[in-house]
């Protein structure tokens, strides 16, 4: 493939100077002449990768891994200490929604100001003005001063301006986690549309779920260095392995409030095997709609662990989460004794019609600390013997009658 490169990150390093005490005035500098001691901190070290035009690349990493610094270097807000970034095409960076908004100005004026900050001409803003207002759902408030906006309105307006910029390259830093669900859906739809238009997206997050949904490839950063560049699914696996190795909880995409922020210092319990079983296991490699499916998780505890929760996710081929649950939700919390064991999670019926699905399993504590996690190892396929189409096997009954004529 000889597709042109949209973003070429060429051996970029970025050094920050950390001062014990920072002297920011001439007076202080003179008083403390020669005492301005600092430590060097390399936020990025020899980061080197390329983004092909039209590609969506995620940047994964823990807090402090240099994700945001990388994006700032790409978008030109920070200049790298070493190396360079070559960007081909117009670029808009969404590092903070509503970043150049002036509270004293009206929403209308801010749209124009922000648009031109992001590189739009007045004519282009004029053309998109109605779209922006409609997208932000602010028709009634557009002439109010922005300082009277609620935080939700503020953020919506920021996003609306940003996505209507239509740059060749869009750089996003975890700004999707705003607004209500409806708005989030709109944002995701917009990003998909961006992809279809062949625009390049560089996307920073620590949510592997979003990367799986949106990105073609991903870069995994750890303390400023790239540890993996590859297809999204593989990169996510590397990222999770890395998190487990460094003893940080993986964010488990379940309900809100269960994002697992605690740290697992060691791993007292681990998964040793994963097996999927369905009625036709012996004879055919696929399920028929509404057949049952058992997921067997073999585990081994090196010490007794209380309150063990097994969790499970079913993900379709577009990376969308189909179903997720855990044994805590099912009301089965398990105290694991020393030694091995097996957890059977059985779906009585799999009402899926067609397609291939990945099963991810893991073990965590009730408080959300992930002990172990297996991805890309369990997969099942559903084949539809009938002629209905779609992904879910809904039960339909047809009942047709002619209207009785008098």
């Amino acid at each position: 493939m000889a597709a042109p490169i949209a973003v070429d990150v060429d051996d970029v390093s970025k050094r920050f100077r950390l001062y014990n005490e920072k002297y920011q005035s001439l007076k202080e500098r003179l008083l403390h002449a020669g005492q301005n001691r600092h430590e060097d901190f390399w936020a990025l070290r020899n980061v080197d990768f390329e983004v092909v035009e039209g590609e969506t690349v995620g940047v994964l990493g823990r807090n402090g891994s240099g994700k945001s610094t990388l994006l700032k270097c790409v978008s030109g807000i920070l200049q790298p200490t070493d190396g360079k970034v070559v960007v081909r095409g117009t670029l808009a960076a969404l590092l903070e929604l509503g970043a150049g908004f002036q509270p004293e100005l009206s929403g209308r004026d801010n749209i124009y100001l922000n648009g031109s900050l992001l590189g739009l001409s007045t004519k282009e803003v004029e053309r998109r003005f109605d779209d922006i207002v409609a997208f932000a759902e602010l028709e009634h408030f557009i002439d109010n001063q922005v300082k009277f906006y609620s935080s939700g309105m503020f953020v919506r307006l920021g996003f609306a301006v940003a996505v209507n910029v239509e740059p060749d390259i869009l750089v996003i830093d975890e700004v999707l986690a705003v607004g209500d669900e409806n708005f989030q859906r709109k944002c995701l739809a917009r990003i998909k549309q961006f992809q279809d238009d062949g625009r390049t997206i560089l996307f920073v997050t620590h949510s592997s779920e979003l990367v799986r949904q949106i990105c073609d490839r991903a870069v995994v950063l750890s303390s400023g260095s790239v540890i993996e560049v590859g297809p999204a699914a593989e990169a996510i696996k590397v990222y999770h392995d890395h998190l487990l190795a460094t003893g940080t909880a993986v964010d488990v995409p379940l309900g809100p409030g269960e994002d697992g922020t605690a740290e697992a210092a060691h791993r007292p319990i681990r998964i040793t095997g994963l097996d999927l079983e369905h009625p036709g296991s012996g004879s055919r490699p696929y399920l028929l709609p509404n057949e049952s499916l058992s997921v067997h998780v073999m585990f081994e505890a090196s010490e007794p662990v209380d309150d063990v929760v097994f969790f499970l996710e079913v993900i379709d081929q577009r990376g969308e989460l189909v179903f997720a649950t855990d044994t805590d939700i099912l009301g089965q919390v398990f105290d694991a004794p020393l030694g091995g064991g097996r957890a059977d999670l059985t779906f009585e019926r799999v009402p899926l019609l067609e397609g291939a699905y990945d099963v991810h399993v893991g073990i965590k504590s009730r408080s959300g600390v992930v002990y172990d996690r297996r991805e890309q190892e369990g997969r099942f396929e559903v084949m539809n013997p009938g002629r209905s189409r779609g992904s879910v096997a809904l039960e339909v009954r047809a009942d047709i009658q002619a209207a009785t004529l008098r």
């Binding site: 001439l26 807000i77 279809d196 291939a356 997969r379």
Partner: protein, 355 residues
Amino acid sequence: MTDVHADVGAEHTAAPEGAADEEQGGGAPALISQRELELVARGERAAARGPKATRTVAARVSVWKRMPELWRARELFVFLVRKEIKVKYKNSFLGFLWSMLNPALTLAVFYVLFTFFLPNHIPNFVIYMFSAMLVWNLFQTAVLSGTQTVVANGGIVKKVAFPREILALASVGSAFMFFLFQSIVLLVFMVAFWHRPDWGAIWLIIPALAAVMAFAAALTVFLSAVNVYLRDTQHLVEVVLMAWFWAIPGIYAFSGRVHDGLVKHSIFFIPRTHLIWLYFANPITPVVMTFQRVFYNIWTARTTNAPHTVIPVMSHYGILWYLFADLAIFGVSMALLFGALVVFGRLEGNFAEEL
């Protein structure tokens, strides 16, 4: 995970041949090629949007590469100036009047002081002073607000990529708008006093304005960058500007005592030099004098208490002298502005971390 089960089409037909492989079978290779195809298609759509400019982000980017970016951001300049004015005048005529209060008060104080308590015998002193103050306020507002502008707009600087020089230049731009508003007030005064400007020399304002704006821009671009690293720069600037004000012939007559004294003394007792060189090395002075030449246009005056003594108010330089002086300042200022842009480019790299 090896998979034999790779035929894509089979997915849609009812039952594939009962090849006995595990359930971790097909799907994956089909998916990858599908994604690859999609990527190619996307790339084509991207290419269809035409050629794209490349931009390099690195520690050193030359001024020559920065200049086009500055030019591309010219609309942003307009919006920033507009924003500045809207915020300042709170979008209302009353706010606009309110903002005139400060310069009006200064004017009133000086007028009362030098007409009644320390009379300097300059006829129509208000016009004389106002023509100088117009220039001075333009310069002072630009430099004072411009020095703080990068720090004050830290929120944008840290989050949005744009040529930051625009911020400094926008300060000069909004100072110019302020100048225009004040000019209206001068016009009102001139009509009220029925004071005639020198219509034949009115074109001189254009080189004079160009000179003072270029100089203000050079200073502002430089100081706005320095102020990020040395935050007390803005206070130093205030003090320097206060002293600077007395170096222009705004509230005293240049000709006569001031001129003679300057000609008599040499710079630091170096022979055959004149202090007046130093006086004219102040780039604001010739611009101020140009404005007085155009709007005030009274060269000598007679005092009321001694009707036979003639007091010189303005110097008798010809129109060409003013033109050359203004053009010289403009030229030097443009060179300084270039230098300031180079310095700004060097210092800009760490703005986002320093703020």
